[in-house]
Amino acid sequence: MSYKNYRLKTFEKASLCRNFENEVFKRVNEKIINFPVYLSAGQEYVPSSIAQIVKDKKQKPLIFGQHRGHSIYLSFGGNIVELIDELLGKKTGCTGGMGGSLSINSNKINMFGHEGLMGSNACMGVGACFSSAKPTIVFLGDASVEEDYVLASLSWAAKKELPILFVVEDNNYAVLTEKKDRRDWKAKDVAKAFKLESYDIDDQPKNIFSVLKKNLFKKPIFINVNTKRLFWHSGAGVDEEVKGDRLTLEKKFLGKKAEKIHSNIKKKIENLWKQRLEK
């Protein structure tokens, strides 16, 4: 696939995620959803770009996300209606109504659920990858990568040369505590010290594409992707207006075609939510 085509396909995925999260935002405000919800709006380019590459390579990796997982689920082809139902607490949800927002999973797309201890998915992902020899992706946050057990998992993945990709969605925050107040090291440097091929990039699809196109699942790779969270850590709210939202930039660049895709997806998602709410 040409990069141009890849970029448009990635936009389509990201647009799906954004429109979905905007709908969830509304439902939280309307108090239709009452449990903690972790919105991924603003960060969707990370899973979307990766999912598109994986799709083009015809791979079906094991996926281990953490709490902010809606965009991971949707980017990799998780069933939309089942995610809506899950957020509405229905038995027909992707996790049978047990998953809320934080613990969603999908056996169909090999996405494992998260229990709530940030970064635990790195350990489970490494173990599953080691024991199955299947390609695996672990999504972390810039804070969870600080957990000691995450570091130990990176070390072992490197030692065993696993076909695994670690992705840090670096939004600079642990809830509201900034990275600069938590540590003086870069995740990329620590990963490198463990002998992982590692990168620190921003969430332009071009960058993600270029660091992954060669070695994905051929060896362990670690990418720290700088991105921006639009909404609160948990719940539906806005702290401050974010400049440089990736989706907005990409839409502008891709022009009319993208705008059309975006508005069609928006309608589709709005309708789906309406239908499920009426059920």
Partner: protein, 305 residues
């Protein structure tokens, strides 16, 4: 020559690796006595995996192996390390089937040891696993019990915690319950205290007491058999439980369950509520036969008053 429990564990492990393509994870496995001689001399190519010195992560990594269906054995060489190792097992592996419809069956071999090993390595620490949902706990001390436990595991998709004791590895005998109506008291010992409880029972029965014994190794789920309930109900003083975990650990929970179903008093003896050192004087040993005997004498005297 009759085989020991040690040999049986080794054989089961061998079969698990060779026949079922399972895996065995742990630290310092291939060497340092091969886990007190319970592990066959095999290596990574055979499925025996040396884990790094990262106990918290290791519990999670083995959970990952379980999630993809490798039915791993996970060896925790001293139960004191349970504190670090249990985190992702109890919070993920044990819940995975119920929440995500993804079972994570694993067979945890937690080794406990006697006293004299300081604040952490001494004795048994299964109480921290006990309260969590989704786990099964056994403490086999004999060959039959161990084989049964493994068989149950292979027919199940749950997480099994198998609380072993180093002192039992040389054991060749099977224990028998001794129960009849109208006993003075019934001993219900767990783990290594079963050996001492047997001695205490034999001594007391030779000295004018009527003491029965019910050996416990299926700890969670804990099922009190109907027959046991009626025997306990008909006893004079109730039950004395013994364990090599702390006295405020699972033994109190089990005692309460027995009490609820029998309305009889259930006494407990376990590790004392104090930190352990390394010497005879400072360590924290599980109840000895003598301590059990004294406790029963004391119960009898008190009741007479």
């Amino acid at each position: 020559m009759e085989t020991t429990l040690r040999e049986v564990i080794k054989q089961i492990t061998f079969k698990h690796l060779k026949k079922f393509k399972g895996q065995v994870f742990g630290q310092n496995l291939t060497g340092v006595g091969w886990v007190a001689g319970t592990l066959p001399k095999l290596y990574e190519k055979d499925g025996v995996i040396e884990l790094p010195m990262a106990d918290v992560a290791n519990g999670g990594m083995v959970t990952g192996a379980a999630l993809v269906g490798r039915r791993p054995f996970y060896i925790i060489r001293y139960q004191g390390y349970n504190w670090l190792n249990c985190i992702f097992i109890v919070n993920y592996a044990c819940k995975s089937k119920e929440i995500w419809n993804k079972p994570a069956p694993m067979f945890i071999r937690g080794l406990s040891s006697e006293g004299g090993l300081g604040p952490v390595s001494t004795s048994s620490h299964i109480s921290i696993f006990y309260k969590m949902p989704g786990i099964k706990i056994y403490s086999p001390m004999t060959k039959k019990e161990y084989t049964n436990t493994y068989r149950k595991f292979m027919n199940s998709d749950d997480v099994f915690y198998v609380s072993e004791h180093r002192k039992s590895y040389e054991n060749k005998i099977e224990f028998k319950n001794s129960i009849k109506k109208n006993l003075d008291i019934i001993l219900m010992p767990i783990s290594v205290t079963r050996f001492e409880a047997e001695k205490a029972k034999n001594y007391l029965n030779k000295n004018g007491y009527k003491v029965g014994i019910i050996h416990l190794y299926e700890l969670k789920p804990f099922i009190l058999k109907k027959k046991w309930i009626s025997i306990i109900k008909s006893s004079k003083y109730g039950v004395l439980m013994t364990d090599n975990d702390y006295v405020d650990g699972i033994i109190r929970t089990l005692a309460h369950k027995i009490n609820e179903q029998t309305n009889k008093k259930v006494y407990v003896l376990g590790l004392k509520d104090k930190s352990a050192g390394y010497t005879l004087e400072t360590s924290n040993f599980p109840p000895s036969a003598l301590e059990i005997i004294n406790k029963i004498k004391q119960i009898k005297v008190k009741k007479r008053l």
